[in-house]
Symmetry: C2
Subunit: 196 residues, 2 copies
């Protein structure tokens, strides 16, 4: 893979931040919670406007009690037709999906749906910034995999190749996302390196 900046080093964290990575990051927060905290921090700093989309739900029945809020009494989860996160950073459209795995040795591609890949292809085609955030919970590491790298693995799979991406390969074609106390998944630092 060739990346815009021509190399793959992650952004060097300060020694204290590196230490922080081990001390603070494994407090039982899910990847989604960590990203939500990060997005709120970016928003508070007026750095970026990036939100998680609500979970898509098919509402079937709603009850309207007197003097209190409407209650949804029957609804079903729908499959998302896009990725979970999008927004705006430095004038650019940003779009990503986030997945964590307990698997030590590989990232299972079953985590990603065909229509999400199609969506990500459209985003790349229309010049948006698109990527996948992968967390290996066992290794306590979170990676930024550019959509362009993900596509290659996806198509190899669809041609009968591996159904997962080996951990070592994820390391090779992704960027380790630094952990900071507030920006717990500081993916904008990777975008800064790649696109600005």
């Amino acid at each position: 893979m060739n990346y815009p900046n021509g190399h793959k080093r992650t952004i060097p964290a300060s020694p204290s931040q590196n230490k922080g990575n081990h001390i603070f990051s494994n407090r039982g927060m899910t990847l989604e919670e960590d990203i939500n905290v990060t997005n709120q921090y970016y928003l508070d700093l007026d750095k970026a406007v990036i939100h998680k989309k609500p979970t898509p739900v098919q509402i079937v029945n709603v009850h309207y009690p007197r003097r209190s809020a409407a209650v949804i009494t029957e609804a079903y989860f729908k499959q998302a037709s896009t990725t979970d996160y999008n927004g705006l950073y430095r004038g650019k459209y940003v779009d990503f999906e986030a997945k964590e795995t307990k698997n030590k040795t590989s990232f299972p591609l079953a985590n990603i749906h065909e229509h999400q890949i199609k969506h990500m292809e459209s985003i790349v085609h229309h010049h948006g910034i698109c990527f996948l955030i992968i967390r290996f919970t066992v290794h306590n590491e979170t990676y930024y995999m550019p959509a362009e790298a993900l596509f290659a693995h996806w198509y190899n799979k669809s041609k009968g190749g591996r159904k997962s991406i080996p951990y070592e390969t994820v390391k090779d074609c992704s960027y380790l996302i630094p952990f900071h106390y507030h920006a717990r998944v500081d993916y904008l630092s990777i975008i800064d390196r790649l696109y600005f």
Copy 2:
């Protein structure tokens, strides 16, 4: 108001399309349905990637019956913290809210929430394309009001001014969105004129 193109004419529709506007557009479809059809059309043509965000729901109880899909048995509507629509067009981040009113003479500002205005301000600040789509159902007209124009009315209201925008004022500071059979709310044609 000064707009990038310096004048305010809407894009002239062909005579048949103009006719179509009266024949086809008032078929009882809501503004939301019309925009969804339009977005799907843009997507099918690979013109833009713009989606409505799911309705935000606070899920309280989920029942997992054997051999069938999980049923949400208690949930509540949450207030959206952003606008309803966003996406990507010609490399630009696009973000908008859509409201229809049955009012003949004005658009009530109570339709818009404070936090949505804050969100729209952030989008403009970060160089996204941001606007409000207003439909006057009685007049069968749909307008593109740039966020920058909306803000002025909002602040006048917060300083004790009018709680609604008169219909004539909407006409003055907005663009009439053309109707086409597939692109029923062809707002990209306005974006083309304003930004490209």
